[in-house]
Amino acid sequence: MLIGGACKRDGSQPAAPPASPKPSAQAVASGHAAPGLKTFTAEEFAVVSAACERLIPRDHDPGALDADVPVYIDRMLLTPEMQHVRRDFLAGTAQLDRRTRQMFGKGFREISDPERDQVLVALKNSPPKSIEAKYFELLMVLALEGFLGDPSYGGNRDRVGWALVGFGTSEPPPQYDGVRQLHAHGAR
C-alpha cells in the first residue's frame, strides 16, 4: 500500500503487503472524530497514542508522543489516497483492544507498559497477512512516517525524529503544507 523501493523486486524479500482487493468509497465513515481530531474518537486516539509510544518510546531521546506521531496518523488517514487504509486501521485498532482484553481482561490503556509490549509482540508475530500482523505493520509504518516525515504533516515536532537519525537536508519552504499537497494531488 505504501510506496518505497517499489522499483525493485527480489524473490528473497518478503512481498509488500497486498492492497485490499476493493477500495470502497463507503469506507470513510465521518462525523465520529473527537473535537480537535480528524479521524479518531478520543478513545481511539488514546489507544493509538499508547501503542505508538511503545513502538518509539521516550528514553534519553524523544519518543513518539514528543514527536506528535498520533496527531500525524489522525491527519494522514484523512487524505484521499489513504481512504481505504483508514478502514483497515480503525478495524485494527479495535482488534488491538479486543486482543488486550483476551490477554489481560482490561483495555490497552489500562495495562502496564510491559503488558502493552506483550500485546504488541503478539500482534507482530501473528501469521503473516493476518489482520493483526497487517495492523502491526501499518501502525509501525505510520508511526515511522509521523516520526520522520516532513513536520508540516503534524508529526516530527521540532524535527526530533530527524535529529535521532541524523537526517538533514534543505527543507520545503516555511509555508509548505504536505497534507494540502496530497489533497491537491489526490483530488485529480
Binding site: 510506496i3 518505497g4 511503545r54 518510546p57 509501525m140 516532513d150 509548505y176 499537497q181
Partner: protein, 552 residues
C-alpha cells in the same frame, strides 16, 4: 467529435517521447504530446519523502492503477506498483538517479556473441553500436551529462569527451578505487545525467541530499522535463497536454493508425487525429496500449499480427549488498567519512562479458557503487523489519541511533536479463484501472543463467566492500529485477515474423505507427538504459525526417 488533426501525436513525454517531440518540432511539424501525468514545475519538487516517495505524486497506487504481477504462469497475480515509472511530464527521467551509461558493442550482437542459449529468446539488434553512437553524442549534448572518460578493458568507443566535467565525489570514492585495484579490477567514474556546471541556462547541481526518486528543484538533473520538453515547447510547434490518459490508438479501414482516443484532465473522452502516431509510455504501458487497441483489422491488438506485442519482456537483473562504516570508530583513520557529499560515482564493468561460461554465464553487467538512499522513513522501516524478525521499542531506537553514526555504501547490479518465453505482458480484461481501462498483467519467469550471473556479480562486489573492512557487510538480494528498466515488448528487427518494429522503430504492420521507449530493445544490456532510449529516439527522429524528405 475529433479534435483538429496534428501531424504527429506522441503518447508519453519521457526518455522516448521527448526527443521525438523536440526533433519533429524543430523540423516544423505540428506535434501534440499526450502525457497521463501532471506537468510539475521545479517549485513543486520539494524534499518531502512522504509526498515524493510514499504516495502517488509520481507513481500510481496499486488500488487505483495496479500492475498485476506473478511469478510464472502458475503463480497468483498480485496488485503492485512495480514496473511504473513517474507519471508526469518527463516520465521516469524526472525521478531517475541519472546513471548515464552507454551500451557496449556486444549488447547489439548478443545472439551472435553467445550463440543459441537454451530457453532464451536471444536476438541481435538490427543496428550496430556504430549506428547509434552519433546519437549517444547528441543525447549527451542535449541533456547535459557530466563525466570523465578513462581507458578501460571494456570501454565502448566514443568520439568525444562528456559535455561537462564530473560531479564532485565523496572521499570514499578513492577508497573504492583502492579496494578495486587491490583486487585487480578497473574502477570507472560513473557518468551522470546531472550538470556539474551551469549549462544552457540551467543551474549546476547544488549537491543536496535527495536526488534519485526526487524531482530536481533547480533543474540540474537532466530529465527531459528540464531539457528537451522546454526546448520542444520553444519551437512553437509542440503542444503538451498533461493529465491525458490514452485509451486506444484507432485505425482506419486500411489499417493505418488514425487517432489516439484519450481521457482528458476532466475525464472527458477526446480523439486526437494525426498523420503519424508515436507511442512511448514505457515498455509495459506501451504494450498495454497496443493490446487494448483492438479493431477488426487487429483483433489481437494493434500491430500484433504475429502475437509478439508484450512478449520478450526484459527488465534488468538486480542484486545488491551493503557495507556499514561506523563514523565514530573511524574518526582517526577516515576523518572525512561523515562528509555529506552525496555522490560516490564508481562502477565496475570487469564482468561485462566473460571469456567462457565456467561460472554458469557469459553476459554479465555493471556494478554501480553509491551511498544508500538517505530517505529516513525508508531506512527506518527497513531497520524495524517485520514479522518475527521485526523490532520495536528501545531496540529500535538503539538501531536508529546506530544508523545516525553510520555511512552505508552499497552496490547495485545492472545485469543482462535474458528474454524467456515465460516473461511477458498481457492485458487482463477483468482488472481495470480507475479510468476503466484493462491493466497490464506481467508474468515473470527468470532464466537460470541470470541468477548464476547476479550471484557471481554480488559475490565479486562483496569482495570489494570486504576489502574496505566495513563494520558490517549485508547482502540485500541476488535474484531480483529492476522493473523501472523495461524493454523488449515490441522488439525491433528486420524480419516481420519475429519482431514488432522495423529497424527504424516503425511497426511492421502499421506504416505510420512508431514505438520509441525501451520496447524496441530485444536485449536489456548490462547498464541502466535511459540514455540509450533517449539516443535511440533521436536516431528514430533522424530516420523519420529523412524518410519524410525522401517521400516528399
Amino acid at each position: 467529435m475529433a479534435l483538429p488533426p496534428a501531424d504527429v501525436c506522441i503518447v508519453g513525454s519521457g526518455a522516448g517521447g521527448a526527443p521525438m517531440a523536440l526533433q519533429l518540432g524543430r523540423a516544423g511539424l505540428k506535434v501534440v504530446v499526450l502525457e497521463k501525468g501532471a506537468h510539475y514545475q521545479k517549485e513543486e519538487f520539494v524534499h518531502d519523502e512522504i509526498l515524493n516517495s510514499r504516495r502517488n505524486f509520481f507513481m500510481p497506487l496499486p488500488w487505483d492503477e495496479p500492475h498485476l504481477i506473478r511469478n510464472g504462469a502458475s503463480g497468483k497475480y498480485e496488485r503492485s506498483n512495480a514496473a511504473w515509472t513517474a507519471n508526469c511530464v518527463g516520465g521516469g527521467t524526472v525521478h531517475m538517479s541519472g546513471y548515464f551509461y552507454r551500451l557496449k558493442p556486444v549488447d547489439f550482437r548478443l545472439r551472435s556473441t553467445l550463440g543459441a542459449v537454451p530457453n532464451a529468446n536471444l536476438a541481435d539488434w538490427p543496428i550496430s553500436y556504430q549506428e547509434l553512437a552519433p546519437f549517444y553524442d547528441q543525447a549527451e549534448e542535449e541533456l547535459g551529462v557530466s563525466g570523465r572518460v578513462v581507458a578501460h578493458p571494456f570501454a565502448e568507443p566514443r568520439s568525444k569527451p562528456y559535455p561537462l566535467p564530473p560531479l564532485q565525489e565523496h572521499p570514499i570514492s578513492q577508497e573504492v578505487d583502492r579496494a578495486c585495484r587491490k583486487l585487480g579490477l578497473h574502477p570507472l567514474p560513473t557518468a551522470r545525467g546531472i550538470i556539474s556546471q551551469a549549462y544552457r541556462d540551467r543551474a549546476a547541481c547544488s549537491y543536496c541530499a535527495l536526488c534519485g526518486s526526487y524531482g530536481c528543484e533547480i533543474g540540474a538533473k537532466s530529465g527531459t522535463n528540464s531539457t528537451l520538453i522546454p526546448a520542444a515547447l520553444q519551437t512553437g510547434n509542440v503542444e503538451i497536454r498533461p493529465r491525458c490518459m490514452a485509451r486506444s490508438v484507432e485505425v482506419d479501414r486500411q489499417g493505418r493508425a488514425k487517432s489516439v482516443v484519450y481521457l482528458d484532465a476532466q475525464g472527458i473522452e477526446q480523439e486526437q487525429p494525426a498523420k503519424v502516431i508515436v507511442v512511448s509510455c514505457t515498455a509495459v504501458e506501451s504494450a498495454r496500449l497496443l493490446l487494448n487497441s483492438t479493431s477488426s483489422r487487429f483483433p489481437r491488438g494493434l500491430a500484433n499480427d504475429n502475437g509478439l506485442v508484450g512478449r520478450n519482456l526484459v527488465f534488468s537483473s538486480f542484486g545488491e549488498s551493503r557495507a556499514t562504516f561506523r563514523i565514530a570508530k573511524r574518526k582517526d583513520t577516515w576523518p572525512w567519512l561523515d562528509d555529506p557529499a552525496p555522490f560516490v560515482q564508481r562502477s565496475l564493468q570487469d564482468y561485462y562479458l566473460m571469456p567462457d561460461d565456467r561460472h554458469g554465464f557469459r553476459k554479465g553487467g555493471t556494478l554501480g557503487f553509491m551511498w544508500t538512499h538517505p530517505n529516513p522513513i525508508f531506512a527506518a522501516i527497513r531497520i524495524a523489519g517485520s514479522g518475527k524478525d521485526g523490532i520495536f521499542g528501545t531496540e529500535l531506537k538503539d538501531r536508529l541511533r546506530a544508523y545516525r553514526d553510520s555511512k552505508i555504501l552499497q552496490f547495485e547490479i545492472y545485469g543482462e536479463f535474458l528474454p524467456t518465453a515465460g516473461t511477458y505482458l498481457s492485458v487482463d480484461g477483468t482488472t481495470k484501472d480507475k479510468y476503466g481501462i484493462p491493466v497490464a498483467a506481467i508474468t515473470v519467469e527468470r532464466h537460470p543463467t541470470d541468477l548464476a550471473m547476479t550471484k557471481f556479480l554480488v559475490e565479486r562486489g562483496e569482495e570489494v566492500l570486504a576489502a574496505m573492512q566495513p563494520d558490517k557487510l549485508e547482502r540485500v538480494g541476488i535474484a531480483g529485477e529492476t522493473t523501472i528498466l523495461q524493454h523488449g515488448t515490441c522488439r525491433f528487427g528486420n524480419d516481420p515474423a519475429t519482431s514488432v518494429l522495423d529497424k527504424d522503430c516503425r511497426a511492421h504492420a502499421v506504416s505510420n505507427l512508431y514505438v520509441v521507449d525501451g520496447s524496441f530493445m530485444p536485449t536489456s544490456g548490462g547498464v541502466p538504459t535511459t540514455l540509450t532510449i533517449v539516443a535511440n529516439s533521436f536516431r528514430v527522429a533522424n530516420r523519420f525526417l529523412a524518410k519524410l524528405k525522401r517521400d516528399g
